[in-house]
């Protein structure tokens, strides 16, 4: 300051300074104000912080919200506050308030929401009375702080507001810009705290749920493990996830074997009912619960009846997650039930077939029920009244009625549990006296109280009659047996009867020295007898008995025993293994017949036979010699005549005489031949040979043909093998005689023939010789086979020919039949039995 300035300068300087001071002081004031404001904000923040810390520690949501409403009033110095919690799902809206009691809360909520909808979320706003006046519930307020936020993921919205009423507005600090900032912070903090709270709540809830379901699961699996029923749990595709031990026990499959498989592939089999199978399939497809009984197969292929219950399991959201199948092996129950049903059916069938009537008496109403057969037995139609009791009483004979009543009483009062009786009744339908047998049983409860009496009744009249007849028959049998045994005992033949085991049942041969016997008293079987046990004769018989039983053939043996006076007797022992119709051995019957006399006689007969045979042979030779000697001169006569007739120098008359002599000689020769044939046929035994009968016929015809004048023809009709088995010489004589007759009695005025036919039928050889000759008159027909009968005076025969034929056919066991029409011809039919060449 070197040169003091003028006053003015100084004044100016002073004023400047004064201005500067004033300006400073106003800055200072502003600074103070700012400091105050900051201090206030700090206080607000501190308060806010304190509230929030408190709020965080609130376990209860409503307490949390309540604290926050208090915070708004306290921190922001408003008159009232509101927090509205609005869930976006169906949960209820909650409103918390401080210093404010709205008359209509839901309208208030709507009004707040409406105001907020004009504002941006997450920010704070001051709403003045111009807006608030538009809303009924808020029109009393001068201004307010508003904010809201939306939590789309947590599904709620929260609306906040602090309000100052018109009346009290002068008393309150109006919300300033600085309030806005802090209210925004407050809103953000609340949003964060609430979100945390909600999340932790959800987690806690989930934790609890998990915990609960774990417990539930533990319980379930305990049940599933402990239960006797088989349990299968499958996924929603029906693949096995888990099975319990009981399932393994029933089916034989262990969890690790079946996991991921479908139960039906494991368990179903050929006997599984197709309808049931389809029902199951449908239910599983529709995810419905089902209960069926099904035939399943275990691991070893054993079938069992499975009572199956399938439950479909869904989660909370309704998604199908699992099937649970409960299995129960009810094979035994099913089989038992089936068996009971079968037995019941069988019993009913038996009852019906065996005509067993059943009845039931129930003491409650004193009623009796009968089945149809009861009505049949008593001979009443079950459609008509009177009552069963009346029918019963009327049918009973007097004394049996009393017995019946007594029986019933005894049953009713418990004297007897069961009672069996026989009654005589008079059957209503025909008045016949019948005998019925009744069995009754009392059924009682545990307490002994009579429940009912059940009974069965059977008409045993026929049975009794049959039994009586049988008894009579048995008695007759015994008599007969005694009778036959006495016959056998006095029979001269020895009899032994054994059972199939070879033990003796009967013998009429008392044991004696040298007889057939072994120790019969010890009941030793003849099949056990050894050679050293018995005498030679018995041993021989025993061996033959065994052979007979083995071959099932009758065996006859001859042996020698000793008579009572000690001389030798020849026995014929016949062993018969007697079989019943089915071929089973019932008895072995040994019959010994004394054939000593028979043998003696037989020997005598044999001797006589030998002598006879010798005589016969001699006789045969004699007959041949005689016939030869008789024929020789006869034949020489014929020879001489033939010689004379071949000489030229004889006259006609001599010729005639010679022919007559020749004819007589021929007849005489014929007679000699026939007598020889007759004699041979009656004496000689049959001798069968195999030969061609047609050749024989041709030979016979050729031999005879020369004596035939004029034309004659042999016709053959051979339908079968011409080789036959027969007595050749006899058949030769037979055919020669018959064909000879056809030749002899041919008609000379026509073309004559003789026809031979041969057929076989039913084991017979049929030979027919037919001709178109003179025939035989009916009056002679039945006599032509008589000895020496000649049917015609013109006959050149002896009357022996056909007689011999008949005799030969008889000898050959055959038949000779003649059919003839005079003037037309004769047919002789020879029927012979066919003979087996091997016999």
């Amino acid at each position: 300051m070197s040169n003091p300035a003028s006053y003015d300068e100084l004044l100016k300087q002073y004023r400047d300074l004064q201005l500067r001071v004033t300006r400073f002081s106003s800055i200072e004031q502003e600074l103070i104000n700012t400091r105050d404001r900051l201090d206030h904000e700090l206080v607000l923040h501190q308060r806010l912080h304190r509230y929030n810390s408190d709020a965080l520690n609130q376990a209860n949501e409503s307490a949390f919200f309540q604290l926050e409403t208090e915070a708004i009033v306290d921190v922001f110095e408003t008159e009232a506050s509101l927090i509205i919690y609005v869930p976006t799902d169906s949960r209820p809206v909650a409103m918390y308030r401080e210093g404010f009691s709205p008359s209509n809360t839901s309208q208030l909520v709507e009004e707040i929401k409406k105001i907020s909808s004009k504002l941006s979320p997450g920010k704070s706003h001051i709403v003045k009375s111009d807006v608030l006046n538009l809303f009924d519930c808020l029109s009393a307020f001068d201004q307010g702080l508003f904010s809201y936020f939306i939590e789309p993921n947590l599904h709620y919205e929260v609306y906040l507001c602090g309000l100052i009423s018109k009346t009290n507005a002068p008393l309150y600090n109006k919300p300033q810009e600085r309030h806005l900032t802090i209210f925004g912070v407050f809103t953000q903090q609340l949003q964060a705290m609430l979100a945390n709270r909600k999340r932790s709540e959800e987690i806690t809830h989930q934790m609890e749920q998990i915990k609960a379901s774990q417990q539930e699961l533990r319980k379930l699996s305990l049940i599933a493990t402990r239960t006797k029923s088989g349990v299968i749990i499958t996924d929603n595709m029906g693949r096995i996830e888990w099975v319990n031990d009981a399932f393994t026990k029933i089916s034989g499959y262990r969890l690790e074997e079946v996991i991921g498989q479908k139960p039906r592939d494991l368990l179903q089999g050929p006997k599984t009912n197709e309808v049931t199978r389809q029902q199951l399939k449908d239910a599983l497809w529709k995810k419905e619960n089902i209960e069926v009984t099904i035939v399943n197969y275990d691991r070893e292929g054993r079938e069992y009846f499975n009572q199956l219950e399938i439950i479909s399991v869904f989660d909370e959201d309704g998604n199908h997650t699992n099937f649970i199948a409960l299995q129960k092996d009810i094979t035994e129950e099913t089989l038992a039930r089936q068996e009971i049903l079968r037995m019941n059916t069988r019993f009913e069938l038996i009852a019906k077939h065996s005509r067993i009537g059943t009845w039931e008496y129930s003491p409650q109403d004193n009623s009796i029920r009968w089945n149809d057969i009861m009505y049949d037995i008593y001979g009443v139609s079950n459609r008509v009244e009177p009552s069963i009791v009346d029918v019963w009483r009327n049918s009973m004979s007097q004394e049996d009625y009393e017995k019946g009543v007594k029986d019933m009483d005894n049953i009713r009062n418990g004297m007897f549990g069961t009672q069996e009786s026989t009654f005589r009744i008079k059957r209503a339908s025909d008045g016949a006296e019948r005998i019925v047998e009744t069995v009754m049983v009392a059924e009682r409860e545990e307490s002994g109280q009579l429940m009912r009496v059940v009974g069965s009744t059977k008409d045993i009249t026929e049975e009794l009659n049959l039994k009586r007849e049988r008894d009579a028959a048995a008695e007759r049998m015994v008599t007969l047996k005694t009778f036959y045994e006495s016959i056998l005992n006095h029979s001269p033949s020895q009899k032994y009867v054994f059972d199939p085991e070879g033990r003796i049942l009967f013998s009429n041969d008392p044991p004696k020295e040298g007889a057939i016997w072994w120790d019969a008293t010890s009941k030793q079987s003849i099949f056990e007898v050894v050679e050293t046990d018995v005498n030679k004769r018995t041993w021989n018989l025993v061996q033959n008995i065994r052979k007979s039983v083995e071959s099932k053939q009758i065996i006859r043996i001859e042996d020698e025993g000793t008579s009572e006076d000690g001389h030798a007797i020849q026995f014929l022992q016949s062993i018969l293994p007697y079989q019943n119709i089915t071929g089973q051995l019932e008895h072995i019957i040994v019959t010994g017949v004394d054939i000593s006399e028979l043998i003696k006689v037989q020997e005598a007969v044999n001797k006589k036979n030998d002598e006879l045979r010798k005589i016969n042979a001699e006789l045969d030779n004699f007959v041949y010699s005689i016939s030869h000697d008789l024929r020789s001169p006869l034949l020489s006569i014929k020879g001489i005549i033939s010689l004379i007739m071949h000489s030229s120098e004889i006259d006609e008359k001599t010729q005639q005489y010679l022919e007559m002599v020749d004819g007589s000689a021929t007849r005489l020769d014929g007679t000699i031949q026939e007598i020889l044939e007759y004699s041979r046929n009656s004496r000689l035994d049959l001798a069968h040979e195999t030969f061609d009968v047609v050749a024989m016929v041709e030979q016979s015809y050729n031999d005879l043909r020369f004596s035939a004048e004029g034309q004659m023809e042999l016709l053959l009709d051979i339908q079968t093998d011409p080789v036959v088995v027969s007595d050749k010489s006899r058949l030769g004589v037979l055919l020669k005689n018959i064909i000879g007759n056809s030749v002899k009695y041919r008609r000379k005025d026509i073309h004559s023939f003789v026809k031979f036919s041969l057929t076989r039928k039913e084991g017979k050889l049929i030979m027919k010789v037919s001709d178109n000759g003179e025939g035989i008159n009916t009056q002679h027909l039945d006599k032509i086979f008589t000895m020496f009968y000649r049917g015609t005076t013109s006959s050149i025969g002896t009357g022996l020919g056909l007689y011999i034929c008949k005799e030969i056919v008889n000898k050959l066991n055959g038949d000779l039949l003649v059919e003839s029409t005079p003037g037309q011809g004769t047919t002789m039919t020879i029927t012979l039995p066919e003979i087996d060449p091997h016999e």
Binding site: Y624, H628, R631, S636, G639, I640, L643, L676
Partner: protein, 130 residues
Amino acid sequence: MNNLQHVVLVDDDDIFNMLHGEVLKRLIPGVRIDVFKSGQEVVAYLEQEPEEQIDLIFLDIRMPLMGGFEVLDSMAQMNQERFSKTKIYVLSSTLDDRDLKRAKETPLVTDFIGKPMSFDTMRTILSEQS
């Protein structure tokens, strides 16, 4: 039929010998016929004349002492070559089948002929001979 030179008849019956001789003579004129009345005679002749060729022999069965079959038995003992061209017929009035059977079973015998031998039979024999 004419180349037959020598025929032998053996029969104890003169009439048959005569008859058969006549038949032969008529049918084969000039044939040599030797007649023997017993079996022994013909056997003796055959033994004495072993070279003699005989075309036909008619032999009776039933003869005293030695019958036809015995003769045939003796002939069977002889040299068979000489009988190779000889036909032997057994002649008999027998009705005994056994004789017929035996005749047919004897190899030397050609056939059996029932007595008396007729012209027809002889003609048949001769026709078979040629």
